[in-house]
């Protein structure tokens, strides 16, 4: 896959070059790279929002997509429940309740997005993405700009959901910890134009990753790419 942008001066600049990968059915692929490396651009191409690229994406025809954007992107004039039901009209009451229960949204079902904190709004966006029972789930920095404790809790809830509803997932983040906890396979992005510089498979199942396992993954990642400060915005 390759993507170039035109500068105002007219010259064309490649932001992504030779990025190629295949995800197995039900696999969670974690893409790690510094902010501004073109991760979101890659996701937008895969989601079909940007058709101006060279390359090919297969498995696309008729697939159902679920996506969590960097911002929650909920409809402010609809309640949490309606936001979910509008994109997932087929969702049953039982499925919906279970989903809202895991994400601690049950008491906020009939609240409007304006009444929710950012953490709750992110949860609602997650609920919406899972409710469509997607063939491909795309998560674009789902926990960015949240405090660590809250992000950790949401990450655990997300891990639980992914184990309950196995779905091929693309997770993009600049937070190594997040990717190490959630993904089955890590793809490290770096360079300019961006390409995949390393691939790491995590054999341990998600619910059995001890602090040591996470630490070893982190150092393995750090050996391969120089990441800027984790908590820089």
């Amino acid at each position: 896959m390759q993507k170039s942008f035109s500068r105002p001066s007219g010259e064309s600049v490649d932001v992504i070059r030779d990025v190629g990968f295949t995800l197995r059915h039900g696999e969670v692929g974690g893409f790690i790279g510094p902010s501004g490396c073109g991760k979101t651009t890659m996701l937008r191409i895969i989601a079909g929002l940007d058709r101006n690229y060279r390359g090919s994406i297969s498995g696309g025809a008729g697939r159902r997509l679920g996506m969590v954007f960097q911002e929650p992107r909920l409809l402010p004039w609809r309640t949490v429940e309606d936001n979910v039901r509008l994109v997932a009209p087929q969702v049953s009451e039982i499925e919906l309740s279970a989903l809202l229960e895991v994400l601690e949204l049950a008491p906020h079902r009939s609240h409007y997005p304006g009444e929710l904190s950012l953490g709750l709004a992110r949860r609602a966006a997650l609920a919406r993405a899972f409710a469509v029972d997607p063939d491909l789930l795309i998560l674009d920095e789902p926990f960015v700009s949240m405090d660590d404790a809250l992000a950790a809790r949401l990450r655990d809830e997300l891990a639980l959901l992914v184990d309950r509803h196995p779905v091929t997932t693309l997770l993009v983040t600049h937070d190594v910890e997040e990717a190490a906890r959630l993904a089955d396979r890590l793809f490290l992005l770096a360079g300019r134009p961006t390409r995949i510089v390393a691939e790491l498979t995590i054999p341990e199942p998600r619910n059995a990753r001890s602090a040591e396992v996470i630490a070893s993954i982190r150092s393995a990642v750090a050996r391969r790419i120089a990441m800027p400060d984790q908590h820089a915005p």
Partner: protein, 245 residues
Amino acid sequence: MVRLASLVLFVGIWFVAALLAGDRMLPGPAAVLANVLGEAASGALFVNLAATLARVLLAFGLAMVAGTALGLLMGRITLADRLGDPWLVVLLNLPALVVIVLAYIWGGLTEVAGIAAVAVNKLPNTIVMVREGARALDPGLDEMARVFAMPRWKAFRHVVLPQLAPYIAAAGRSGLSLVWKIVLVVEFLGRPNGVGFEIGIAFQLFDVTRILAYALAFVAVMLVIETLLVQPLERHAARWRIRTA
């Protein structure tokens, strides 16, 4: 309570002004009310109010639907905006009277010509407001609807329309009052009934009482529409907003 006091004050000023100006120039509230009741008793009031109201609603509906469609088109498609903008400027600056007279000359003194003339007068105003709304649409929500494969009509109803609602409401608010004023001119110039027609007759007879009676009766009708229809609709559309006051 404050509104009522303000209304009482208005009637009081009217009363005093009528005493000073004399019956011929400005009849008092009592005389006007008696005239309204007399017209109501003969039934003429209701026939004329109904005729005017029907024209207002038709022209208003026409202008709002067409204006919203065109405004949305121009706000979203650059080519449509470029093509339509000069026409819009012409329409915006065309005096209402010119449109009405031309409509009557080209279309004859018919109901269709009259209502079309009113609608054309309101149309550019609606287009301008809705176009502004269409330009302010959130691309993020648009992408959300596309990613989740929302059907077109559903996305329009639940994603686009609620974002346009404040702009359409503003166009409607100012539109209803604009339309009824223009309908009166249309009736004055070329319809055989309605409030404007009655005021035309009263003008020829210098009957200020009747002019005020019909004008106030119709203002009352519009006030009822405003409180019973427009305001509840606005409250419903704004139910999700956090109330700040």
